[in-house]
């Protein structure tokens, strides 16, 4: 699997002029560390002097990053950075601060650890965001190959639609102009009614143009795996309409050189009317039909069980999938692989301490299953205290998180008291006046450590680089936000779309469905949206039919009495 990667990388290294050993050798050069954690992918800045910077941390941020992420550019850059990793195979070890092992996802460093990205330039690295395993490499190469021919088919569809639309638009004009051009002298003069019809044709075409622009000229929000049935239907309809009109025109008018120009104009007007009705049909089919909610979709993330419910109308499975994805990016909290598993200390004690030896068994498969069953049974018989461990571990973690959070809140509050907005009337020394970026940098140092410790405890540190925190701080300062508003982003895990595009972790989703994806949704349909690390399982339920009945309650009928508890002496 390395070979195709090597080929593409070799291709890319030519303009860069870098010589790199193959990745295997680079990996072998690193002493004894697990493969998946070593390769650090650094995002290169625009300048090419990267090799000289010894302080490349996982928190680097690519400035000047253009908004539209075109697939090719991203991939090429990723490849480029990988090739640079290859050259610095040995250097990637020395980049870390001396004596500190790599940080893996699940280790939470104690308070005594000296993390200083806030203050200096030495590096803290190795978080999983920036490491690629072999699987990732192969996936990326596969993506590159796949996308090449898929783009063609999508563009074909768009081109076809555009051509058809143009044809349909120009046809009425052609109908009107051809008699004028070809047999002008023989035409009967046609006065006011024709002029009225000309005006109506002009305006109807304008309305059609505006309507088509509003409805169709949109950046596609997704690429569907299969043909969009309604669009195809409409294109076929338009095509048939135009062709049949041309047929009639050719036979009745061109061949016979009809003199009645008014008839021709009316013919053209009828075509424009028909096109407007097709546009109306398009609005109804593409936009209106799905608005009324008919189904409730439940989307569950397989990794951690987060679930949401959505109401949708009549959609095909692929459109429903896109709808779910649109909502996924702003509803579901971001997928954090570090938070998934029970800490190893809780689970690891289960299987230790039992070794089962078999005496005189000849069938090896029976042997192994019998052995494992014996181990499991023995372990189950032992008094199982792991739930206890889990409970105390969780309580301890809660306490730790709350303590760090308190420190963070206090630090941020204090930091915000150091700056204030310059009022117009005040006269200040120009040296003392700062723009938001400088103000942010000025107060960042005092809260940096508390922030970093908090992020580390809640395992959010891959999601927030130093640069992103500074930018957010600058943003909050500019808009006069309170410390609480600034912290809102860090205290709770937000939806995926809030984070940097690289955290979106590939927009490539795979739709897995038993039914054809152009089928409409029905009660009980289940489909899965797969990605590398997790998948979204979506199940459909029909919204129940409500029988609403009316009951009239006379406002005067609301009457009350006291609850009695009398005692009478007799």
């Amino acid at each position: 699997k390395i070979e195709p990667l090597k080929v593409t990388v070799d291709f890319l290294k030519v303009p860069l002029g870098l010589k790199k050993p193959p990745l295997k050798e680079a990996l072998a050069a690193l002493p004894g560390k697990p493969k998946s954690q070593i390769l650090e992918r650094h995002k290169p800045r625009r300048s090419d002097a990267m090799d000289n910077e010894s302080q490349y941390s996982g928190y680097s941020y690519k400035s000047g990053h253009s908004r539209s992420s075109r697939k090719h550019r991203d991939r090429r850059e990723r490849h480029r950075s990988k090739s640079r990793d290859g050259t610095r195979g040995d250097k990637s070890v020395t980049i870390q601060a001396p004596g500190e092992p790599l940080l893996d996802n699940e280790s939470t460093r104690g308070d005594e650890r000296d993390d200083n990205w806030g203050e200096t330039t030495t590096v803290v690295t190795g978080t999983s965001e920036h490491s690629i395993s072999h699987d990732d490499l192969t996936h990326i190469t596969k993506d590159m190959e796949d996308s090449a021919h898929l783009d063609c088919s999508r563009h074909l569809g768009v081109a076809l639609g555009a051509a058809l639309a143009l044809l349909a638009f120009l046809t009425p004009l052609a109908f009107l102009l051809l008699p004028q051009l070809l047999w002008r002298e023989e035409l009967e003069p046609c006065g006011t009614p024709c002029e009225g019809l000309f005006i109506s044709v002009a305006f109807k075409l304008l309305i059609l143009l505006l309507g088509s622009w509003a409805l169709f000229f949109r950046r596609p929000k997704a690429f569907f795996p299969r043909v969009f049935v309604f669009r195809a239907l409409l294109m076929v309809l338009v095509f048939l309409l135009v062709v049949s009109y041309w047929l009639f025109y050719g036979v009745r008018i061109l061949d016979s050189r009809d003199r009645n120009y008014r008839g021709v104009v009316q013919f053209a007007v009828s075509l424009v009317d028909a096109l407007l009705f097709v546009h109306y049909l398009a609005v109804v089919l593409l936009e209106l039909r799905q608005l009324q909610p008919q189904f409730t979709l439940k989307a569950v993330r397989s990794a951690d069980g987060t679930s949401r419910f959505y109401n949708v109308g009549h959609l095909s499975i692929q459109r429903a999938a896109v709808w779910i994805l649109e909502n996924y990016y702003h509803d579901f909290p971001v997928y954090n692989p570090a938070l998934l598993n029970l800490p190893k200390s809780v689970l690891s004690k289960k299987m230790s301490g039992f070794k089962v030896y078999s005496l005189g068994e000849e069938n090896s498969t029976n042997n192994s299953t019998g052995q494992s069953r014996a181990v499991i049974a023995a372990a189950a018989r032992r008094r199982d205290n792991s739930h206890n461990e889990f409970y105390y571990e969780e309580a301890e973690h809660e306490r730790r998180v709350r303590k760090r959070r308190a420190r963070l809140v206090v630090a941020v509050e204090e930091a915000f008291t150091h700056i204030k907005r310059l009022q117009e009337e005040e006269q200040k020394n120009p040296r003392e006046i700062m723009d938001p970026r400088e103000a942010a940098q000025a107060i960042f140092a005092s809260m940096a450590r508390a922030m970093q410790k908090y992020l580390r405890t809640t395992k959010q540190q891959p999601y927030h680089t130093m640069e992103s925190i500074l930018q957010h701080l600058e943003f909050c300062i500019t808009h006069d936000m309170t410390p609480k508003a600034f912290l809102e982003r860090y205290l709770t895990a937000g939806p995926t779309i809030q984070y940097h595009k690289d955290r979106w972790l590939a927009k490539q989703w795979t739709l897995v469905s038993e039914e054809p994806v152009t089928n409409g949704l029905k009660d009980g349909v289940v489909f899965v949206l797969k990605r590398q690390d997790f998948s979204l399982v979506v199940s459909t339920k029909k919204i129940p039919f409500f029988k609403l009945s009316e009951e009239f309650v006379d406002p005067k009928s609301h009457k009350f009495i006291m609850r009695l508890q009398s005692e009478t002496s007799v």
Partner: protein, 120 residues
Amino acid sequence: SYLISFSFQQRIEIHKLRQGDNLLLGFSIGGGIDQDPTQNPFSEDKTDKGIYVTRVTAGGPAEVAGLQVGDKIMQVNGWDMTMVTHDQARKRLTKRNEEVVRLLVTRQSLQKAVQQSMMS
């Protein structure tokens, strides 16, 4: 030893005491079908809307006759008292022309099980 709870019926004859123009019985009643049964402290079943004796004046005719607090009055002189309103119950007890009222009451009783006899 343990407690056994049971209810038994008792017939009680009260001779009314004349005080001026009134005939007194010497106890108070609570309950009735128009009252709130959940507030009755004496009933076992809180949906019971019967008439209960809530107080017995010391030395009065009711105490002399053996009526106790918490008794549920089932009948008065043959008239049923389980499904009457509070006022109807009062009226049936305080008829001017009756000097003697014969009540059928139900009483809850808790008694210690007789274990000594078993042990001996």
